[in-house]
Symmetry: D3
Subunit: 249 residues, 6 copies
């Protein structure tokens, strides 16, 4: 589906979804057994496995600082997508897109951590897409927060830290303009046909920590941007609630 | 657990498993939605996602031959294991172990394919370990056969081929000697403590297609090898039955 | 300089610059002699050489489409910065930051091109930072547009195309909040100490084509974001004027 | 030559060799002058230079353990083969086949070493194929043992160790079924035409340390496997004798 | 232009330059602001930015020696040349030509340094070609000496060293035979059409430190070589004078 | 041995060799059996295996030209040297030294070939050092010429070409100044202690095709250079005679 074959005013979302509705969100904790946090998050057909691993080491720029680090890596299984894509391990390098996404996840999570309370250790978040249908990076951030929370609980239970380093919750959603209409939580066919695509990362306290908007064809106005941010705020509110529910808070 | 701290005759398997018993085997078809074949296979705590992708192209050595190709890639999510391992895509190369395993999977599957009946196209098998507890390569082969069968059914249903290129079924299991005792289907702690470790790949017709035995400490005798092969034959028979049941045959 | 050692309300910009003032902007065309477009752009102490090369080929996904392509690469000389950084060619790979920036430049420029009017050829933009003092990516986008314009003029003069494929002008600027105060066009010390950092890319027609905001410490509000966008609009207006003047339009 | 064009019962080995005969084996010690052990081993037309280098360091997982390490690398000169193959150093990576072989050589040699008697140092075995005519990995293992023995003698003579860490001798041979007939020590044309191909590594004490069998077309039975192992045992016995003779034992 | 289309005796240099004349030489110090030495050197249309960075570390082979190190890296901006060449950072490796040149620059500069007087630190020279018209490596060596001298002055001014480690000045020039005629300081079109091409590196004391001559078509005689060296001596004398003038000596 | 511990006037070459004497030269043709040319060349303790492979393809820049290509690759077995060096295939890249040498060998050989008479095919020269004792690159060039001659004879015998493309013979030798004394054909200990080191490549017709001189400590004068070239001419004359004798000319 491309922008060209969507007639103005006639766009219908799959399953009769409203413009401002999220797809069904499912958060499954303890999806795998070895990691300190392991969460499968689903935004409709998008399924991302987020694990949080506690490692008793920090990268060079933090050594001796007494502070910890939170980092993320992102991957997509070769056939998570409609057509098979090359395995990055076999090609011998990560794509620019992959690096961009994993840097975004890492920054978003660090924003809600007080690294001095983590101690000189790392929480490594691995976000691997098992099935892709749009919004993988936003699902990854939202799921990674739950996995990181479980890893922090583990650290507290182990007595390795006395106080949580998590200052706030964080979640993310995509929004976009398709056929002139602002939509929340784009699925793949909507993403492929959109005019503007925006990823928004917000905390529970209500601030934005990352905002990335891209015009795919036509430029977008301040008015359109504000409509998108309104949608994003609504969606992120629901995601933060889903996180709290999954964590039993 | 190492071989040293296992007293002779006292080895007990977890969950009271008999020496000649498989762990519970689960085969879930259509685990993800895009691939022509998508199977989650579980050997106890080992969980491998096997997808089969049909690609209308062949590698250079098959171009113009009228024959197809079957190939495999293998990966492990960084936290599939007890401690996090480096992401191969980030390190920029696949380890020798990874390459060895994916070559083994590819050869094993090709053995049951008549490539001339596949037409000039490729079935690409991706075996990604979501959770590891020993035996990932044998689970991968066993699951990849089911995924490949589904991809062949899709090709037949699409009318792309008139006749199945699959000549026989194939499955694989690990066997080993732990504390002097031959065991079927080693889990991780058994594998780490074993004297000899063997991976056996067999077809439904009863022949071996791959046999890889390694002495981890002491060399092994022909007698021991035969005891291991007896166990393997029994286990593979059960795996072949599980495959048939999963495929509704 | 870090956010911590800036007292609220006391921040003074270097050279007495006003919060809403750009640094001096210089655009030098024909800076080197071989490229179809060659522009040195300076935002204060930031100096980026932008060349536009016409290549009579397109990447695989455009072959046979009759359409052209616009792409960008970004680099920084090892000692463009305060301390020497590793040469990416010697390390054998481009950093995630480099890839992120060059993807941003490419998308920004493609937004103002009608690729079907370019014909099946590529304009390759190379943006190399000779000296860095903050804002290298926004200077690169602003300078690359001038270089691309010169390459298009060359194509027209050569009779290779009959009509310009450039639909609009594009320019970019960074904005940020330092010590609670929104500032236009951050220089390095400001960037290092800012709470929020945003890069804005806009067209002459007034729309945004890229928007990337990052909270460095505290999250940012919609109100703050709007203040930043007001500054960005002002700055981009001035940059678009500087481009027109440089191009003699 | 392929399996198809060999009529049953008519296969004749080159030079009238019997099915259970090795090719002429030559072991030349001190083939080059710098290494602590340097052996040219020839299995007929297959010539492999095996050097053993003593290095006063160990890999990270052995540091501080008081134990040593034995490791191997394998390579093939580009024109060791019938047609030139790419130089792995120029391509920038070792093939999966190369890695598989060098891991096999390393494991085989470590099986006969008591690493605690070696002290915290490494014996690095380099096996480089000067000319290939089948069986390069088995020649490499057999020759590497002689080179390693010479390196151990050097360590003893230097007074660096007081007692040999070598517990047993090790050698290897390939066996296979060609045209229905089990054959010992396959040369290249036999290997290319075989139904089943097996590499067997055994110690002088009579146990197997590695066993790798692969069906190239048809699966193989337990009966066939036993016939192949009988051949392998005979051949390895002769190779162990040749090693002893070369070492003057 | 190739050797074939130059008629004997008719070769005319551009701008009426004499066979034994350098192109105009310009040396601009402090071309960029961060490096301890930063020099733009121009040999006619060839422009190379040479920076010298002081780093308080040495490579492994010098650690603990009390001695310093001088090293060089070379690069060419993708569109420094007539047609765009691939960016080495994007390709993931430096070409053989690049490595050859940067090794030459490093050796040439080390020849005039007393590394024991430098202390255990490194002067890293980065020579990046902004515009190429022949002779980039000789311009790089000549300019790198000036940048290194400025870095040494900085070290002296900072009190980090008490005495200059620079023993002599060094400069370099290319010479060649075009159409049978020995020429000094080849520009690109001359270089492309020459029979013999020689790069000569000399010190102010009059000795040669590097000499690299290559016959491009026909071999060259001792007589021709001596004619070329006479030209080179003259040219290097003038370059050494230009260096002294730039440095105010 | 370093330059410092050689007292002036007391330098004695090993085995009482005269300053102007080559080490014993041995050229063994048909050293391995698969290549069209295969030569082991020995300069004293330096042993290089040079193979020439005929390939019915040319690199991109020669496709469709009707002309052929001659290229070279160089490698050193890890333990060809006194201490083991890393395997370049395992490290994943060729060193700058390796690339410099193989480019030199390629250029030297192409100088004596009329590529238009070779037809659109490549002669690939692989020069692999089995044992190193100084002068490996000059031995490689001298041996590669003999291997290339054998490959050309094979092409003529096969009727693939009607006329030899070889225009002249080529050989190479190192010369250097040790302890003030010019010496021919440096062995490793001399090379390590020399003041100046020069590699000279000449044709039978008497011209130089490559000349690479490097001052290791002190600069060298024209007088010294001429003394070195006199020695080189003498040595190369003897090498050319050894080539002719090996080829039965």
């Amino acid at each position: 589906m491309t922008a060209e074959n969507i007639l103005p005013g006639t766009f219908e979302r799959s399953a009769g979804r409203a413009a401002n509705a999220l797809r069904p969100v499912t958060i499954t904790r303890n999806y795998t057994c070895h990691a300190e946090g392991s969460v499968l998050i689903e935004f409709g057909g998008t399924k991302v496995l987020c694990t949080a691993s506690v490692e008793e080491k920090v990268p060079p720029h933090k050594r001796g600082s007494g502070e910890g680090w939170v980092t993320a890596e992102y991957g997509m299984l070769p056939r998570a997508t409609h057509t098979r894509s090359d395995r990055e391990a076999a090609r011998g390098k990560q794509s620019g897109r992959t690096q961009e996404i994993q840097r975004l996840i890492g920054r978003s999570l660090r924003c809600v951590f007080d690294l001095s309370l983590l101690g000189e250790r790392t929480i490594a978040l691995d976000c691997d897409v098992l099935q892709a249908d749009g919004g993988t990076r936003t699902a990854a951030i939202t799921g990674a927060f739950v996995a990181a929370s479980d890893a922090v609980s583990w650290l507290l239970a182990q007595g390795k830290i006395a106080q949580t380093p998590i200052k706030d919750a964080v979640a993310a959603i995509s929004v976009g303009i398709v056929n002139g209409q602002p939509l929340l939580d784009l699925e793949y066919t909507e993403d492929a046909g959109c005019d503007t695509d925006m990823n928004v990362v917000m905390t529970a306290a209500g601030g934005m920590v990352e905002l990335q908007g891209t015009a795919e064809g036509a430029a977008f106005s301040r008015v359109e941007m504000n409509a998108l941010l309104d949608l994003a705020e609504k969606g992120i509110g629901e995601l933060l609630a889903a996180q709290r529910q999954a964590l039993g808070l």
